[in-house]
Symmetry: C2
Subunit: 202 residues, 2 copies
Amino acid sequence: MRRLSLYLRSLEELERAGVATVSSQELASRGGTTAAQVRKDLSHFGSFGKRGLGYGVPHLAGELRRILGLSRSWRVALVGAGRMGAALFEYPNFRDRGFRIVTVLDQDPEKVGKEWGGIVIRDVEGLESVLREVRAEIAILTVPGEVVQEVVDRVVDAGIRAILNFAPVRLRVPPGVVVNDVNMALELEALSFALARGARGR
Amino acid sequence: MRRLSLYLRSLEELERAGVATVSSQELASRGGTTAAQVRKDLSHFGSFGKRGLGYGVPHLAGELRRILGLSRSWRVALVGAGRMGAALFEYPNFRDRGFRIVTVLDQDPEKVGKEWGGIVIRDVEGLESVLREVRAEIAILTVPGEVVQEVVDRVVDAGIRAILNFAPVRLRVPPGVVVNDVNMALELEALSFALARGARGR
DNA sequence: TACTTTTTGTGAACGTTTTCACAATCCCCT
DNA sequence: AGGGGATTGTGAAAACGTTCACAAAAAGTA
């Protein structure tokens, strides 16, 4: 459920604004959906609201964090220290949400040994042992498509069970490993498609 | 239809490999779906295959490019010359697919006037006139969430009808303007969610 | 306490997407 | 020229997701 993340984002805004309670209607309009949708989504995980009153903002935010696994922090390995890797390393939303990049790896000897914000870039050569050493739980892969499958096999060997993949390649992983793809070319193509058939809004 | 892009990617691989014809079955396994799905998707736009034989690889690739609006090239404006902007500027998949970044804009006077691969970074101050001058059709926005809505209003004023947004903010646009969001924190949260409930693969 | 207002939680209706199943079609082989 | 094997295109069925509508609950008011 991807919408849960959106609700959480709205709830955190409301939390900062000091709002104590919120209705499904209000959450819906902020999240770009309907009140019924919000209630159905939430009711799937429990009964968090009070009838006639709405949802307690801090309470619901806490529950969503728990459901989404965000009440703890995650140890993330970044493989690929190119431009995209650099951009993600600096991305403030990751750290704010409890995703801590604990190691950066690259194949290029020029980059290995350099330091990024206190983290030394390690050689991808020793990937398995590095990932075990830093107890990484999630891998972000910003490596070229030609080598990404090999890297995937190795991070899976190293015990990683969740992968965020930026290469435009369909990854093959054993059962029990979750992969999420970010394919920016595809997003542009969706725009191209919409323009080509005469953008009709959304 | 997002799957069409995936099919096209497979077809281009097959094209390079010199394969003349492909079955829905083959396309399905490469695209991570089913043969029936492939046929339904394609039949929605026309009848491109030959019964008993399959689809002609070059022909179908051409049709998909036409449908997706990729048989021409698109003029793209990049607003926000931070790390993410730099990563996207270099991203080879954009240019390969006919998305040409024709201008880069930023708010920071330190950056304005610098040159990126032959393109001078312009001041976001003159956004409307720059975008008209270069005849930009698509805008990629890698600006902070606090200012993205203002930038959106301005690029829309400048005649842009398709926006790729990297800020974790829901944009409000008039009808006729298409927005596509890339929200990387959300993708990580989906992994966190999966891990939290015990990854069961995909 | 009884009445009113508000808003949740949820079964049922509805709509959309995916899968199934098979007749229609095409190529190849003899 | 005719039969066999392969594969598409597509209605019908099934699965899935969204919206509707309303009873159940909570809180304020008198």
